[in-house]
Amino acid sequence: MNPSHRSLPRLLRSAALCLLLLVLIGVVRAHQIEFDQRLAPIAYSGEAGEVVDASRFTIEVEGVEFGRDIAGGDFDHLTGAEADPDYVWMVVTVTVEATMEAMTIHEPVRLESGGDVYAGMVSSPLPAGAATNADELRAGIPVTGAVAFELPPDSIEDPALRVTAVTAGLGSDERLSSEAVVDLGLDEDELRGRVDDAAEVVEVAAGADERRAPAAPAGVTEEGATVD
Protein backbone atom coordinates (compact mmCIF):
# COMPACT_ATOMS: atom_id res chain seq x y z
CA MET A 1 0.00 0.00 0.00
CA ASN A 2 2.79 2.45 0.88
CA PRO A 3 6.05 1.38 -0.78
CA SER A 4 9.22 2.75 0.72
CA HIS A 5 9.92 5.12 -2.20
CA ARG A 6 6.63 6.87 -1.53
CA SER A 7 7.34 7.48 2.11
CA LEU A 8 6.96 11.07 3.26
CA PRO A 9 10.55 11.62 4.44
CA ARG A 10 11.88 10.44 1.08
CA LEU A 11 9.48 12.70 -0.79
CA LEU A 12 10.54 15.66 1.29
CA ARG A 13 14.19 14.84 0.73
CA SER A 14 13.66 14.66 -3.03
CA ALA A 15 11.79 17.95 -3.05
CA ALA A 16 14.54 19.61 -1.02
CA LEU A 17 17.19 18.24 -3.37
CA CYS A 18 15.30 19.57 -6.39
CA LEU A 19 15.03 22.99 -4.80
CA LEU A 20 18.71 22.97 -3.93
CA LEU A 21 19.66 22.10 -7.51
CA LEU A 22 17.41 24.84 -8.86
CA VAL A 23 19.01 27.36 -6.53
CA LEU A 24 22.46 26.14 -7.60
CA ILE A 25 21.53 26.62 -11.26
CA GLY A 26 20.43 30.16 -10.44
CA VAL A 27 23.68 30.90 -8.61
CA VAL A 28 25.80 29.55 -11.45
CA ARG A 29 23.85 31.51 -14.05
CA ALA A 30 24.15 34.68 -12.02
CA HIS A 31 27.91 34.34 -11.99
CA GLN A 32 28.20 33.40 -15.63
CA ILE A 33 30.05 36.05 -17.58
CA GLU A 34 28.05 37.47 -20.44
CA PHE A 35 29.40 37.06 -23.92
CA ASP A 36 29.79 40.81 -24.30
CA GLN A 37 31.76 41.04 -21.08
CA ARG A 38 34.09 38.20 -21.99
CA LEU A 39 35.61 40.21 -24.81
CA ALA A 40 34.88 43.72 -23.56
CA PRO A 41 37.75 46.21 -23.41
CA ILE A 42 39.70 46.00 -20.16
CA ALA A 43 38.89 49.08 -18.12
CA TYR A 44 41.22 51.12 -15.94
CA SER A 45 39.81 53.94 -13.87
CA GLY A 46 41.18 57.19 -12.57
CA GLU A 47 40.43 60.81 -11.83
CA ALA A 48 40.47 63.98 -13.86
CA GLY A 49 43.73 65.93 -13.67
CA GLU A 50 45.91 62.85 -13.24
CA VAL A 51 47.49 60.65 -15.86
CA VAL A 52 45.32 57.54 -16.05
CA ASP A 53 47.31 54.53 -17.15
CA ALA A 54 45.18 52.19 -19.25
CA SER A 55 48.13 49.92 -19.96
CA ARG A 56 48.20 50.35 -23.72
CA PHE A 57 47.64 54.08 -23.56
CA THR A 58 47.51 56.85 -21.01
CA ILE A 59 44.98 59.64 -20.85
CA GLU A 60 44.82 62.86 -18.89
CA VAL A 61 41.74 65.03 -18.66
CA GLU A 62 43.02 68.59 -18.72
CA GLY A 63 39.82 70.53 -18.64
CA VAL A 64 36.08 70.55 -19.02
CA GLU A 65 34.22 73.42 -20.66
CA PHE A 66 30.53 74.05 -21.13
CA GLY A 67 29.02 76.05 -23.96
CA ARG A 68 25.72 76.79 -25.66
CA ASP A 69 27.35 76.21 -29.04
CA ILE A 70 30.51 74.70 -30.38
CA ALA A 71 32.92 75.70 -33.15
CA GLY A 72 36.28 74.83 -34.57
CA GLY A 73 38.08 71.55 -35.07
CA ASP A 74 35.92 68.90 -36.63
CA PHE A 75 32.83 70.59 -35.28
CA ASP A 76 32.97 73.37 -37.84
CA HIS A 77 30.15 71.83 -39.80
CA LEU A 78 27.94 72.49 -36.79
CA THR A 79 28.81 76.17 -36.77
CA GLY A 80 26.11 78.36 -38.18
CA ALA A 81 23.47 75.77 -37.55
CA GLU A 82 21.19 76.97 -34.83
CA ALA A 83 22.22 75.61 -31.45
CA ASP A 84 19.52 73.65 -29.67
CA PRO A 85 18.47 75.60 -26.57
CA ASP A 86 17.57 72.38 -24.75
CA TYR A 87 21.12 71.10 -24.79
CA VAL A 88 24.51 72.16 -23.57
CA TRP A 89 27.84 71.20 -25.07
CA MET A 90 30.41 69.66 -22.78
CA VAL A 91 33.89 69.77 -24.23
CA VAL A 92 36.58 67.70 -22.53
CA THR A 93 40.20 68.41 -23.40
CA VAL A 94 42.32 65.29 -23.12
CA THR A 95 45.90 64.30 -23.78
CA VAL A 96 46.27 60.74 -25.00
CA GLU A 97 49.51 58.85 -25.45
CA ALA A 98 49.88 55.37 -26.86
CA THR A 99 52.40 53.38 -24.86
CA MET A 100 53.26 50.36 -27.01
CA GLU A 101 52.06 50.66 -30.56
CA ALA A 102 50.16 52.93 -32.88
CA MET A 103 46.54 53.29 -31.84
CA THR A 104 43.34 55.09 -32.68
CA ILE A 105 40.44 56.08 -30.47
CA HIS A 106 37.42 53.87 -30.78
CA GLU A 107 34.17 55.63 -31.61
CA PRO A 108 32.14 56.62 -29.86
CA VAL A 109 33.80 57.99 -26.76
CA ARG A 110 31.23 57.74 -24.02
CA LEU A 111 30.10 59.77 -21.08
CA GLU A 112 28.53 57.98 -18.16
CA SER A 113 26.13 60.23 -16.37
CA GLY A 114 23.61 59.13 -13.78
CA GLY A 115 23.02 55.67 -15.24
CA ASP A 116 22.88 56.88 -18.82
CA VAL A 117 25.63 56.46 -21.37
CA TYR A 118 25.99 59.21 -23.97
CA ALA A 119 28.00 59.01 -27.17
CA GLY A 120 30.37 61.82 -28.00
CA MET A 121 32.38 63.14 -30.91
CA VAL A 122 36.14 63.27 -31.25
CA SER A 123 37.90 66.14 -32.96
CA SER A 124 41.26 66.10 -34.67
CA PRO A 125 44.11 65.98 -33.93
CA LEU A 126 42.86 63.01 -31.93
CA PRO A 127 42.50 60.09 -34.35
CA ALA A 128 39.18 58.30 -34.19
CA GLY A 129 37.20 55.63 -35.93
CA ALA A 130 38.18 55.01 -39.51
CA ALA A 131 41.38 57.02 -39.23
CA THR A 132 44.04 56.43 -41.86
CA ASN A 133 47.57 55.52 -40.92
CA ALA A 134 48.64 59.13 -40.99
CA ASP A 135 46.17 59.88 -38.22
CA GLU A 136 47.18 57.38 -35.62
CA LEU A 137 48.50 57.98 -32.14
CA ARG A 138 52.14 57.00 -32.36
CA ALA A 139 53.64 55.32 -29.35
CA GLY A 140 55.24 57.77 -26.98
CA ILE A 141 53.94 60.92 -28.67
CA PRO A 142 51.18 62.61 -26.66
CA VAL A 143 48.35 64.22 -28.60
CA THR A 144 46.00 66.79 -27.11
CA GLY A 145 42.53 67.24 -28.48
CA ALA A 146 38.89 67.63 -27.64
CA VAL A 147 35.94 65.31 -27.28
CA ALA A 148 32.48 66.81 -27.15
CA PHE A 149 29.09 65.75 -25.86
CA GLU A 150 25.76 67.42 -26.45
CA LEU A 151 23.78 66.84 -23.28
CA PRO A 152 20.49 67.77 -21.68
CA PRO A 153 21.85 69.94 -18.85
CA ASP A 154 19.51 68.69 -16.13
CA SER A 155 20.46 65.06 -16.53
CA ILE A 156 24.19 65.47 -16.09
CA GLU A 157 25.09 63.69 -12.90
CA ASP A 158 28.46 62.53 -11.68
CA PRO A 159 29.94 62.42 -15.19
CA ALA A 160 32.74 60.03 -16.10
CA LEU A 161 34.52 59.87 -19.44
CA ARG A 162 35.01 56.44 -20.99
CA VAL A 163 37.58 56.21 -23.76
CA THR A 164 38.62 53.06 -25.60
CA ALA A 165 41.65 52.91 -27.86
CA VAL A 166 42.35 50.17 -30.39
CA THR A 167 45.37 49.12 -32.37
CA ALA A 168 45.61 51.31 -35.44
CA GLY A 169 44.28 49.51 -38.48
CA LEU A 170 41.88 47.32 -36.56
CA GLY A 171 39.06 49.70 -37.31
CA SER A 172 36.06 49.12 -35.12
CA ASP A 173 37.30 45.98 -33.41
CA GLU A 174 37.50 46.92 -29.75
CA ARG A 175 37.56 43.42 -28.31
CA LEU A 176 39.99 43.06 -25.42
CA SER A 177 41.46 46.49 -26.05
CA SER A 178 42.19 49.02 -23.31
CA GLU A 179 39.71 51.42 -21.86
CA ALA A 180 40.08 54.32 -19.49
CA VAL A 181 37.25 55.47 -17.24
CA VAL A 182 38.00 58.94 -15.92
CA ASP A 183 35.84 60.42 -13.20
CA LEU A 184 35.51 64.08 -14.11
CA GLY A 185 35.09 64.98 -10.44
CA LEU A 186 32.24 67.45 -10.97
CA ASP A 187 29.82 67.41 -8.09
CA GLU A 188 26.23 68.58 -8.24
CA ASP A 189 26.78 72.22 -7.19
CA GLU A 190 29.83 72.72 -9.34
CA LEU A 191 28.02 71.25 -12.34
CA ARG A 192 25.02 73.56 -11.92
CA GLY A 193 27.31 76.55 -11.66
CA ARG A 194 29.35 75.57 -14.68
CA VAL A 195 26.28 74.87 -16.80
CA ASP A 196 24.67 78.18 -15.79
CA ASP A 197 27.85 80.02 -16.67
CA ALA A 198 28.24 78.16 -19.96
CA ALA A 199 30.03 80.15 -22.62
CA GLU A 200 28.15 81.28 -25.71
CA VAL A 201 30.52 79.28 -27.92
CA VAL A 202 33.26 76.84 -27.03
CA GLU A 203 36.02 77.16 -29.59
CA VAL A 204 37.85 73.89 -30.14
CA ALA A 205 41.41 74.24 -31.32
CA ALA A 206 41.92 72.69 -34.73
CA GLY A 207 44.62 70.11 -35.20
CA ALA A 208 48.21 71.12 -35.81
CA ASP A 209 48.03 69.64 -39.28
CA GLU A 210 45.25 70.28 -41.71
CA ARG A 211 44.54 66.77 -42.90
CA ARG A 212 41.06 66.87 -41.42
CA ALA A 213 40.48 70.48 -42.28
CA PRO A 214 36.84 71.37 -42.64
CA ALA A 215 36.67 70.77 -46.36
CA ALA A 216 33.23 70.02 -47.68
CA PRO A 217 33.22 66.24 -47.20
CA ALA A 218 34.93 66.37 -43.82
CA GLY A 219 31.72 66.34 -41.86
CA VAL A 220 30.30 63.60 -44.00
CA THR A 221 33.21 61.22 -43.68
CA GLU A 222 33.61 61.83 -40.01
CA GLU A 223 30.00 61.60 -39.02
CA GLY A 224 28.71 59.47 -41.81
CA ALA A 225 31.38 56.83 -41.55
CA THR A 226 29.08 54.58 -39.64
CA VAL A 227 26.25 54.97 -42.10
CA ASP A 228 26.46 52.21 -44.62
Binding site: E34, F35, D36, H77, L78, A81, E82, D84, E107, P108, R110, G115, D116, V117, Y118, A119, E150, L151, P152, S155, G219, V220, E222, E223, G224, A225, T226, V227, D228
Partner: protein, 216 residues
Protein backbone atom coordinates in the same frame (compact mmCIF):
# COMPACT_ATOMS: atom_id res chain seq x y z
CA UNK B 1 -36.60 -9.05 1.25
CA UNK B 2 -37.93 -5.84 -0.08
CA UNK B 3 -36.39 -5.00 -3.40
CA UNK B 4 -38.82 -2.31 -4.48
CA UNK B 5 -36.62 0.47 -3.16
CA UNK B 6 -33.65 -0.89 -5.07
CA UNK B 7 -35.67 -1.19 -8.22
CA UNK B 8 -37.06 2.31 -8.16
CA UNK B 9 -33.68 3.83 -7.44
CA UNK B 10 -31.88 2.21 -10.32
CA UNK B 11 -34.38 1.94 -13.07
CA UNK B 12 -36.15 5.21 -12.57
CA UNK B 13 -34.41 6.91 -15.55
CA UNK B 14 -35.68 4.53 -18.16
CA UNK B 15 -39.11 4.34 -16.70
CA UNK B 16 -41.82 6.56 -18.14
CA UNK B 17 -42.07 9.72 -16.13
CA UNK B 18 -45.65 10.32 -15.19
CA UNK B 19 -45.00 13.99 -14.37
CA UNK B 20 -43.93 14.79 -18.01
CA UNK B 21 -46.60 13.36 -20.20
CA UNK B 22 -44.96 14.66 -23.41
CA UNK B 23 -41.67 12.83 -22.83
CA UNK B 24 -41.13 9.86 -25.08
CA UNK B 25 -39.39 6.66 -24.28
CA UNK B 26 -37.83 5.77 -27.66
CA UNK B 27 -34.06 6.33 -27.80
CA UNK B 28 -34.06 8.23 -31.16
CA UNK B 29 -34.12 12.01 -31.61
CA UNK B 30 -37.17 13.54 -30.14
CA UNK B 31 -38.84 16.17 -32.27
CA UNK B 32 -38.25 18.67 -29.53
CA UNK B 33 -34.52 17.93 -29.39
CA UNK B 34 -34.25 18.14 -33.18
CA UNK B 35 -35.97 21.51 -33.19
CA UNK B 36 -33.65 22.81 -30.49
CA UNK B 37 -30.62 21.53 -32.39
CA UNK B 38 -31.72 23.17 -35.62
CA UNK B 39 -32.41 26.44 -33.84
CA UNK B 40 -29.02 26.32 -32.16
CA UNK B 41 -27.22 25.58 -35.43
CA UNK B 42 -29.09 28.41 -37.13
CA UNK B 43 -28.15 30.93 -34.45
CA UNK B 44 -24.51 29.72 -34.28
CA UNK B 45 -24.23 29.77 -38.07
CA UNK B 46 -25.68 33.27 -38.23
CA UNK B 47 -23.29 34.53 -35.55
CA UNK B 48 -20.32 32.91 -37.30
CA UNK B 49 -21.36 34.47 -40.59
CA UNK B 50 -21.51 37.91 -38.98
CA UNK B 51 -18.11 37.42 -37.31
CA UNK B 52 -16.66 36.13 -40.59
CA UNK B 53 -18.13 39.05 -42.52
CA UNK B 54 -16.32 41.51 -40.26
CA UNK B 55 -13.04 39.65 -40.58
CA UNK B 56 -13.10 37.93 -37.22
CA UNK B 57 -11.65 34.68 -38.51
CA UNK B 58 -8.90 36.21 -40.66
CA UNK B 59 -5.37 35.60 -39.43
CA UNK B 60 -3.96 38.51 -37.48
CA UNK B 61 -2.53 41.07 -39.85
CA UNK B 62 -0.31 44.01 -39.24
CA UNK B 63 -2.36 46.75 -37.74
CA UNK B 64 -3.95 49.05 -40.23
CA UNK B 65 -1.85 52.09 -41.13
CA UNK B 66 -2.69 55.05 -38.96
CA UNK B 67 -3.01 58.77 -39.52
CA UNK B 68 0.01 61.10 -39.56
CA UNK B 69 0.82 62.26 -36.05
CA UNK B 70 0.07 58.92 -34.44
CA UNK B 71 2.67 57.65 -31.99
CA UNK B 72 3.96 54.12 -32.55
CA UNK B 73 5.96 52.45 -29.84
CA UNK B 74 8.20 49.43 -29.55
CA UNK B 75 10.53 48.48 -26.71
CA UNK B 76 13.36 50.68 -27.95
CA UNK B 77 11.66 53.87 -29.07
CA UNK B 78 8.48 55.79 -29.75
CA UNK B 79 8.15 57.50 -33.09
CA UNK B 80 5.50 60.01 -34.13
CA UNK B 81 5.82 60.72 -37.85
CA UNK B 82 4.08 63.88 -38.98
CA UNK B 83 4.92 64.48 -42.62
CA UNK B 84 6.87 63.12 -45.56
CA UNK B 85 8.57 64.71 -48.54
CA UNK B 86 10.82 63.76 -51.42
CA UNK B 87 14.17 65.50 -51.57
CA UNK B 88 15.65 65.60 -55.04
CA UNK B 89 19.06 66.56 -56.34
CA UNK B 90 21.06 65.32 -53.40
CA UNK B 91 24.61 66.10 -54.42
CA UNK B 92 26.15 63.27 -52.50
CA UNK B 93 24.36 60.32 -54.01
CA UNK B 94 22.76 61.92 -57.02
CA UNK B 95 19.56 60.09 -56.26
CA UNK B 96 16.40 61.25 -54.61
CA UNK B 97 15.50 60.57 -51.06
CA UNK B 98 12.35 60.37 -49.08
CA UNK B 99 12.36 62.39 -45.88
CA UNK B 100 10.04 61.74 -42.95
CA UNK B 101 9.67 64.31 -40.18
CA UNK B 102 9.17 62.50 -36.92
CA UNK B 103 9.35 63.03 -33.20
CA UNK B 104 11.57 60.35 -31.78
CA UNK B 105 11.93 59.24 -28.17
CA UNK B 106 14.51 56.67 -27.16
CA UNK B 107 13.69 54.43 -24.21
CA UNK B 108 17.27 53.15 -23.95
CA UNK B 109 19.76 54.27 -21.30
CA UNK B 110 22.75 53.90 -23.63
CA UNK B 111 23.53 55.63 -26.86
CA UNK B 112 22.38 53.43 -29.73
CA UNK B 113 23.41 53.34 -33.39
CA UNK B 114 21.08 55.53 -35.43
CA UNK B 115 21.13 52.91 -38.15
CA UNK B 116 19.52 50.41 -35.77
CA UNK B 117 16.48 52.67 -35.84
CA UNK B 118 16.30 53.53 -39.53
CA UNK B 119 17.74 50.39 -41.09
CA UNK B 120 16.59 47.62 -38.81
CA UNK B 121 13.55 48.69 -36.88
CA UNK B 122 11.76 50.95 -39.36
CA UNK B 123 10.77 50.43 -42.98
CA UNK B 124 9.67 53.09 -45.44
CA UNK B 125 7.31 51.57 -47.95
CA UNK B 126 6.83 53.76 -50.99
CA UNK B 127 3.32 53.73 -52.40
CA UNK B 128 2.01 53.17 -54.97
CA UNK B 129 5.42 52.24 -56.39
CA UNK B 130 5.48 49.22 -54.10
CA UNK B 131 9.16 49.68 -53.31
CA UNK B 132 11.01 50.16 -50.06
CA UNK B 133 13.39 52.98 -49.15
CA UNK B 134 17.01 51.92 -48.83
CA UNK B 135 19.88 52.68 -46.46
CA UNK B 136 18.02 54.74 -43.94
CA UNK B 137 19.80 57.49 -42.04
CA UNK B 138 18.78 60.02 -39.45
CA UNK B 139 19.41 63.75 -39.68
CA UNK B 140 18.92 66.69 -37.42
CA UNK B 141 16.23 69.14 -38.39
CA UNK B 142 18.63 72.01 -37.82
CA UNK B 143 21.26 70.44 -40.04
CA UNK B 144 19.61 68.63 -42.94
CA UNK B 145 21.51 66.94 -45.70
CA UNK B 146 25.00 67.33 -44.28
CA UNK B 147 25.92 65.35 -41.19
CA UNK B 148 23.72 62.38 -40.34
CA UNK B 149 23.24 61.49 -36.69
CA UNK B 150 25.41 58.50 -35.83
CA UNK B 151 24.14 57.88 -32.34
CA UNK B 152 20.77 58.28 -30.72
CA UNK B 153 21.44 59.47 -27.19
CA UNK B 154 19.75 57.90 -24.16
CA UNK B 155 16.31 59.27 -23.43
CA UNK B 156 16.48 61.53 -26.47
CA UNK B 157 13.21 63.23 -27.32
CA UNK B 158 13.58 65.29 -30.43
CA UNK B 159 12.19 65.92 -33.86
CA UNK B 160 14.45 64.31 -36.43
CA UNK B 161 14.49 63.60 -40.13
CA UNK B 162 14.34 59.96 -41.16
CA UNK B 163 15.84 59.73 -44.63
CA UNK B 164 15.78 56.83 -47.08
CA UNK B 165 17.23 56.56 -50.58
CA UNK B 166 14.74 55.82 -53.31
CA UNK B 167 15.66 52.48 -54.83
CA UNK B 168 16.90 52.47 -58.41
CA UNK B 169 14.15 52.67 -60.95
CA UNK B 170 11.73 54.49 -58.68
CA UNK B 171 11.23 58.10 -59.67
CA UNK B 172 10.04 60.72 -57.18
CA UNK B 173 6.77 61.06 -59.14
CA UNK B 174 5.90 57.48 -58.35
CA UNK B 175 5.87 58.12 -54.64
CA UNK B 176 2.59 59.51 -53.42
CA UNK B 177 2.56 58.05 -49.97
CA UNK B 178 5.09 56.70 -47.50
CA UNK B 179 4.00 53.94 -45.19
CA UNK B 180 6.33 54.03 -42.21
CA UNK B 181 6.30 50.58 -40.67
CA UNK B 182 7.74 50.19 -37.17
CA UNK B 183 9.03 46.74 -36.31
CA UNK B 184 8.91 44.98 -32.99
CA UNK B 185 12.22 45.43 -31.17
CA UNK B 186 13.91 42.98 -28.84
CA UNK B 187 17.25 43.24 -27.12
CA UNK B 188 19.11 39.98 -27.20
CA UNK B 189 21.97 37.90 -28.43
CA UNK B 190 22.08 36.38 -31.88
CA UNK B 191 22.73 32.71 -32.49
CA UNK B 192 26.04 33.18 -34.30
CA UNK B 193 26.90 36.67 -33.09
CA UNK B 194 26.29 36.40 -29.37
CA UNK B 195 26.69 40.07 -28.59
CA UNK B 196 23.65 41.81 -27.18
CA UNK B 197 21.94 44.17 -29.54
CA UNK B 198 18.58 45.57 -30.53
CA UNK B 199 17.01 43.81 -33.44
CA UNK B 200 13.83 42.44 -34.91
CA UNK B 201 13.43 38.69 -34.74
CA UNK B 202 10.34 37.95 -36.74
CA UNK B 203 9.53 40.81 -39.09
CA UNK B 204 6.44 41.60 -37.02
CA UNK B 205 5.34 45.17 -36.89
CA UNK B 206 3.94 47.14 -33.97
CA UNK B 207 2.24 49.66 -36.20
CA UNK B 208 2.38 51.65 -39.40
CA UNK B 209 1.63 55.23 -40.31
CA UNK B 210 0.65 56.42 -43.77
CA UNK B 211 2.04 59.81 -44.77
CA UNK B 212 1.12 61.72 -47.92
CA UNK B 213 4.21 63.00 -49.72
CA UNK B 214 4.61 66.68 -50.31
CA UNK B 215 7.40 68.16 -52.40
CA UNK B 216 10.33 69.55 -50.46
Amino acid sequence: MDTSGFYTRHVAHSAPDPTHPGARTDPGLSARFAALLVAFLLVAGLLSAVVWYYGGFASARDTEPKEPGTAVRNDLFTVTPTEAAVRTGDTESGGSRVVVHAKLTSHETEAEHARTFTNELMEAHLLPAGAEGESGIMEQVRDPGTAPISWVQPGLTETVLLVWDLPEGVSPEEVERVRLRVLDAKEGAGFVDESERWWNLNGKSVGAVDLPVEGE
